[in-house]
Symmetry: C2
Subunit: 245 residues, 2 copies
């Protein structure tokens, strides 16, 4: 090991990251929303090499001078692309190999964000990369994505579909105020199949992660619907069973 005789101070003073061959390390985001009755993912068209001109997940390198931690990098990227600051964000999975980036061995921490489409003000012009929403089909998007981003997206879609089965997570895909019918529609869109209304409502009420906005209802040419919001400070609720088969 060669540092046997040093104190920790002496060791650290002599340590130089650049003396080693290290992998490139980045953070990429899979940002989902629901709009126009379909699940969408945010993609950027790359304005610079490598993979110039191809569609890719938003992301980039860790800024070791300013980012306190990985979540900080992810939040910064999210803010840069969407202007949103406090959505649902969780780490998805790491992807790393010698072949996924032509610049060399590279690894990425993929994140997974859900935002309500009303929140979004896409950032244009400033960067060279144009961001836009793309509908997500069975296992991904109808495009060849840069690097291994197709695989990352497919993993994220699978994780989302899986979690939707037994968690309250889809509530984050809606605007802050919504009806139970809105919420059910989002579940159905993400799962791709209908859900029984009665069973759905029983479970949501029992999960107790929503609160009525007392006195507020949405009116239409029918019976008005109670509006709800996510109970503040409430993290994801896990249901005791899966959503109706």
């Amino acid at each position: 090991m060669g540092n046997a005789d040093l104190t920790e101070q002496e060791y650290l003073a002599s340590y130089n990251v650049h003396a080693f061959d290290v992998p490139l390390t980045s953070v990429d985001l899979v940002i989902f929303t629901v709009r126009e009755q379909a699940l969408h993912v945010l993609l950027v068209r790359r304005g610079a090499h490598p993979a110039k001109g191809q569609w890719a997940l938003p992301g980039g390198f860790i800024d070791i001078r300013n980012d306190p931690d990985l979540d900080g990098t992810a939040l910064r990227k999210l803010r840069e692309k969407t202007g949103v600051t406090a959505p649902y964000l969780e780490q998805l999975q790491g992807f790393g190999s010698s072949t996924r980036d032509p610049r060399g061995w590279s690894a990425t921490f993929a994140y997974f964000a859900l935002i309500g489409s009303s929140h979004i003000a896409l950032q244009h012009g400033a960067g060279a990369d144009a961001a836009s929403w793309h509908p997500v089909g069975a296992a991904g998007v109808d495009l060849d994505l840069a690097f291994d981003h197709g695989v990352i997206l497919a993993t994220a879609v699978q994780r989302l579909r899986n979690k939707v089965e037994y968690t309250s997570l889809p509530a984050h895909l809606l605007a802050p105020e919504f009806t139970l019918s809105d919420l059910q529609r989002v579940y159905e869109i993400v799962l791709g199949r209908p859900i029984d209304k009665s069973a759905f409502r029983k479970r949501v009420k029992e999960g107790d992660f929503l609160e009525e906005i007392t006195g507020k209802q949405r009116h239409g040419s029918n019976r008005p619907a109670q509006l709800y919001r996510i109970r503040s400070g409430q993290p994801t609720v896990f249901f005791s069973r899966t959503m109706g088969a």
Copy 2:
């Protein structure tokens, strides 16, 4: 951006990783087994700076010349420490911040391995680091671990306990041949509470991830027990509901 006029070839030829401040990137392993009626985790005593002399999770840097991908790094580390080559291995989560390692901004891909204790031949002597098993209590181990390894271990324990509730995962903590009672005992050890025998057996049989070793039984001073093995090629089975409350 600055590469607008280059071809991708020209850009890559001019690219130099060392021109940037990059984080240190490593892979750490949380290796679990069950022995002596308790869950244990493998720890190493660090023989080199930093955190010299402290207990830590086994792990290390990515070898970009030889490791094909992150799983490759994890498998290599696992082999170096335990001699085991094909156990259960899954990625846990990434951890990265400016403060977790005194050498600077660092990130790690934490992995999560399960092995049967009969498999293990701990590697001694070769390295400066001594590896040994430590019992795992409610949320971790009775030691101050190096870096943020205490947090990583706690996360891994939580994930294990959670997955045990509804998956066939604990089967990988046993020797290759085992009885249903053995398997139930492992579930009980990891969960820290008893499980009803009848319900347990119904679910395991229904999950259909085991096969009888026909004609083989374990004998004692009682009725002999049928031996089982994990059905080959069978990945983790998800039960439709949690193990007995």
